[in-house]
Amino acid sequence: MIEFKNLSFHYGGEHGTGEGVDHIDLRIDDGEFVVLCGRSGCGKTTLTRLINGLAPQFFEGPLEGSVTVNGRNVSTKPLSSISTLVGSVFQNPKSQFFNIDTTSELVFGCENQGLERAEIAQRLEQTVNDMQLQNLLDRNIFELAGGEKQQIACGSVYASRPEVFVLDEPSSNLDKKAIWRLRKILERIKQSGKTVVISEHRLYYLMDLADRFIYMEDGYVRRDIPAAKMRALSDDELKSMGLRCTDLSRLEKSRENPDAQPGGRPAIEGLDISCNRGNTKILDVERLTLPENSVVALIGDNGCGKSTLAETLCGVIPGSGSVAFGGEYLTDKQRARRSFMVMQDVNRQLFSESVIEELTLNAAADRDRAMELLEELDLSGQAERHPASLSGGQKQRVAIASALCAGKEIIFCDEPTSGLDRGGMENFGRLLRSMRDRLRCTVIITHDPELVLECCTHVMHIENGRVMAFYPLDREGTERVLYYFLSPSDESSTKKRENLSAVGKILKYTGSYRKYTFAAIALMLLGAASSVIPYLSVYRLIDQLVQRQPLSGIAAAIAVVLLGELGYAVFYSLGLKYSHKAAYGTLENIRCSLQEKMELQALGDIQELGSGAVKKLFIDDVESIEALLAHMLPEGIANLVVPLIVLLVLAFADWQLALVTIITIMFGAAASTQMYSVGMDRMGSYFAASKRLNNSIIEYVNGMEVVRVFNRQGEVGQNFADTVKSYRDFALAWYRVCWPWMAAYGSIFANIAFYTIPFGAMLILLGQLSLSRYILCLCLCFAIGPQLMHLMSFLGLLPQVNFKIQALEKALDRTALRTGCEAFTGAGHDVEFRDVHFAYKGTEVLKGVSFTAKEGQLTALVGASGSGKSTLAKLLAHFYDVSGGSISIGGQDIRHMSPDALDGEVSYVSQELFLFNKSILENIRVGRKGATDEEVREAARKACCDEFILELEDGYDTSAGKAGNMLSGGQKQRIAFARAILKDAPIIVLDEATAFVDPENEARMNDAIKEIIKNKTVIVIAHKLRSVAGADQLVLLEGGKAAACGTHQELLAASAGYRKLWEASESSGSWSLKGKEAEK
């Protein structure tokens, strides 16, 4: 039990502001969950500090009255003894860690209590299990996202098992997923019977956890509100109390936003933007356009690349691709000059001693203009104050004012409202709205739905480094963005960062072929070494000549030269053999790993990639690495090591000459590194241009027919020419920056001896070098020149390989399909769609569809084309994952089922049939592995395939490849039915299965269908309403929702939409079926 008795406390001491709390009388019982709320500066944080003893023991000040926890006076007890009683989690995830690794941090509290190791281990295990922290063990805290840090903080406190948990605005830096996760953790703590006191601005996630809310104002407890009453408070009441909304779903949905227009001139355009961290590609944006005068909310989970995208757009971190501001393509530096980012930690960007100096720092504007701006931003009183003495909100405004003063066109804000109360948030929103006309564009990275609705005109949703969706915030957009923030999901753990170097990455893929790589390297080393030997032998001869001794051992010398050359040839070719073995092995591994990745992906995503792109990925892109792999690793290493050894020998011969040589080589190396650094900057743009060229060639060829028919050669040709031209420009630009350096190092390496000759001569004249050693040095210099040249060309390839592998990895890293490993355990086979949402390529197709398809009934999905009927069917077959809601069979979520289990329950018959290049018999057997020939034939008979199959050349044994062309659409369809009959799954989905029906087949077809759907759960999609009018249930899809459900008669009576659809279908039906009617 926590008890405040007439407690007053004010911050005093050196830095005390005199703020504090007055006359607090408060009692919090054991096991209660209490939320402290109120405006910023109302004293809620102070109250938490009073409970954990930090005030007055760490934050000093005069205190009257008393505060006791479980009867102990926490203001006088030493802090260390309170820590076993009260556990604290603080606002800033950045600064509450003492350790650098997570595991040590989790046990930190236990260690401080001096617990036994076994006890600590046991508590650690329990904490990890209770809070699901398995993914976060043994990680570097500095690479975790804010939400994960907060989880660790909670876990660490949980492990030390205090009676009372005190949390001070734990959610202020968290994204939506992390908040849900935090909520779960709090729920867990509450369940274990502990007392929780939490001070918070964001209230919505605490509404069903809290028992009561303590509302504070100016240091006084004003109201004590029970949870039920709190929920009932209207938005206006909350607003007058300065509190944030308590229920996100109540945020105004109907607001028309006149500024949210889809079009407009572009303020920021980006093409093929990518960015790497370490050796992983974390950003891959093909195209992006933000309209002029817009306020764009950049939303997405922590670690998805929002900040990276923003920083790449403003040019402060190196990325590739081209970015234009207002139609003008700019370099990184130019963009940094014309844009500004208000950082989350605004302390970092205030450099001057007073606010007014801050504004005029490096800005063209004069003092008067600066004062005007301060006036506008409500800061005029603060002009002479030191920026550090301002409040957080004021600092933000100073940063914005400095940006406006410097004439910046585009402002980015990184989570500007984290930790702001309602008033602060609304003020910030107003400020952004008022600045809208003055700025080309404002981009806000935010996790705050209230701010998004307050001031944004557009929303950009980032996921996994890609732009998932971009939409204006009109009525529909508002609903969509709210759905994003409302949908519960708590899976959040950032990937472990890979810190592999480029070579390490390639070696990872060599796998079991690594031994060949090493063998190749060894052989290449031997080869390179033996190429040096002839020079030594020649030196011996020359040495004899110089010493005027009779020549001896000419034959041996020639033999050594020959042997050396021979050795070089043999070792080199052997090395090549192994390196190719290794290279092709590596390609195999890369392809296999790509395939493994692809298996995990949603089928829909792969289809979206297109077979052409997949083919290019698997064949062309992977192949292009081969040449690099086969030669680069072994030869590169050999060519690096041998010159090094030669240099050491040279040092032995004469260290001064060696020094000269090394200095020369260093000049060359400096030139080449310079080339790579400028070359790498443009590498991405160059590859992007070449990708565009590829695409436009393909488009050109594919579209040839249309182009000719509509006589559009000029236009398309122009398009094509533009792409080719831009490719040429990029390539030339790349070479233009590279070639001076290339020339520089080329000339240095090719002529190393050129620099050694005069120095050597000088040393001889000085008497410090003998002629023979001079000649040895020259020989050695001649020997390493070519190898250095080789080395340079390979070094240049390394970043290329790395770039390509990164691109390959990124291409298939979309979110994997979520499958479980459970067998089917559902009760019955009712299929329930519950609030299913689904977005396809950025547009939301399904916006909350709910209905149940009953077992043993026929459910038909009807609606205009594009209403999402087929999508729903595909979702059930689990080609895609739903983006919200759930689909369950007999109460079991399909995402929990293993792919095999789901496959056994659902059979999906689509309008297209894929025939494998096998016999027809085998093709039908695909339906159920292990079916006997007789079963297959039986199924074929039931599907009415028997007759036409027997008419084929070899009957059932006809190869489908041969027969494929002869089969009509209807016949293929029936083969598909035969498969389904053979499979005999309890749920059947017929997706426009009767599309190809011609009148004569229809009767048979219907027989086949009847055979399939006996006693099954059947979902049918059909365009011809008449064919499904007899269904047990019709579901009308309209505007992404299930608009109406019922039988044909019920719908005709109740739904205007259905009547319209029915009439349209009937009139078209009469148009096509006239002949038939006449026959009757």
Partner: protein
């Protein structure tokens, strides 16, 4: 070389006690001051690199040892030649010798920081019966280095927007102003981190009277005694022969 402070010895074949590693840093310093002879240096470096490799950093060990061998070889090459330009000879000799004597210090420091966690440090210090007043500042120092790195990248970005450069040019032209631009934001954000960190540590019982325990075992094992013995022997030999 990139100093990673995320100490990790989980990949190592042996785990050394932080005390042994600290002894190593100390004696490497002694060695650099008093050794005029290559043999103890050679023995020391060999032991050090072997330990580094065994503790899970084989690549660093290999690189360090190669650098050491090459430096020794070059010194031999230079001294074995009778005549050379005297100025050049002195310069090269000095450079190589400095490198030779710095290597043990650098390598032992990498061994210490690269394979030891902060919690291990604390327990090792406690085992040495140091008062908490000494231990906490040291631990905080290690904890603070990555924070400063983070702050620094943030400030660099902020500077890019404000058109402030921290290149060599601006340091020469306005040394004071450049330092101010770096230090002011760095200090202000460090101060707030520092205060929050201190309060967080206190609230979690960092200064408790009870003797702190340790989850990760820190104990002197046979490997520590062997390594420590060799190191001590070399150090004592150097010190006694050096005087």
């Amino acid at each position: 070389m990139d100093l990673t402070l995320y100490g990790d010895d989980s990949k190592g074949l042996i785990k050394l006690d932080p005390r042994t590693k600290m002894l190593m840093v100390l004696s490497s310093g002694v060695l650099s001051f008093f050794s005029y002879n290559d043999v103890p240096l050679f023995v020391f470096c060999t032991v050090l690199c072997t330990l580094l490799a065994l503790c899970g950093k084989p690549l660093t060990a290999l690189k360090g040892y190669l650098a050491f061998a090459v430096a020794l070889y070059l010194r031999f090459c230079i001294s074995s030649r009778a005549s050379a330009a005297p100025f050049l000879e002195i310069i090269s000799q000095v450079l190589i010798t400095v490198l030779l004597y710095c290597l043990p210090v650098v390598l032992s420091f990498i061994l210490l920081t690269g394979t030891t966690r902060i919690s291990q440090f604390i327990s090792a210090f406690q085992a040495m019966h140091l008062p908490m007043k000494v231990i906490i500042p040291v631990a905080v120092f290690f904890r603070f280095i990555p924070t400063v790195q983070e702050e620094w990248t943030g400030i660099r970005k902020a500077m890019a927007f404000r058109g402030i450069s921290v290149g060599l040019g601006s340091i020469f032209r306005h040394p004071m102003r450049t330092v101010e631009y770096v230090l002011v934001p760095m200090l202000f954000s460090s101060i707030s981190v520092m205060e929050e960190l201190a309060s967080a540590a206190l609230a979690r019982g960092m200064d408790m009277d009870v003797k702190r325990s340790s989850y990760q075992s820190v104990r002197l094992g046979p490997a520590d005694y062997i390594a420590g013995g060799i190191i001590l022997a070399v150090t004592i030999y150097v010190m006694s022969s050096g005087w």
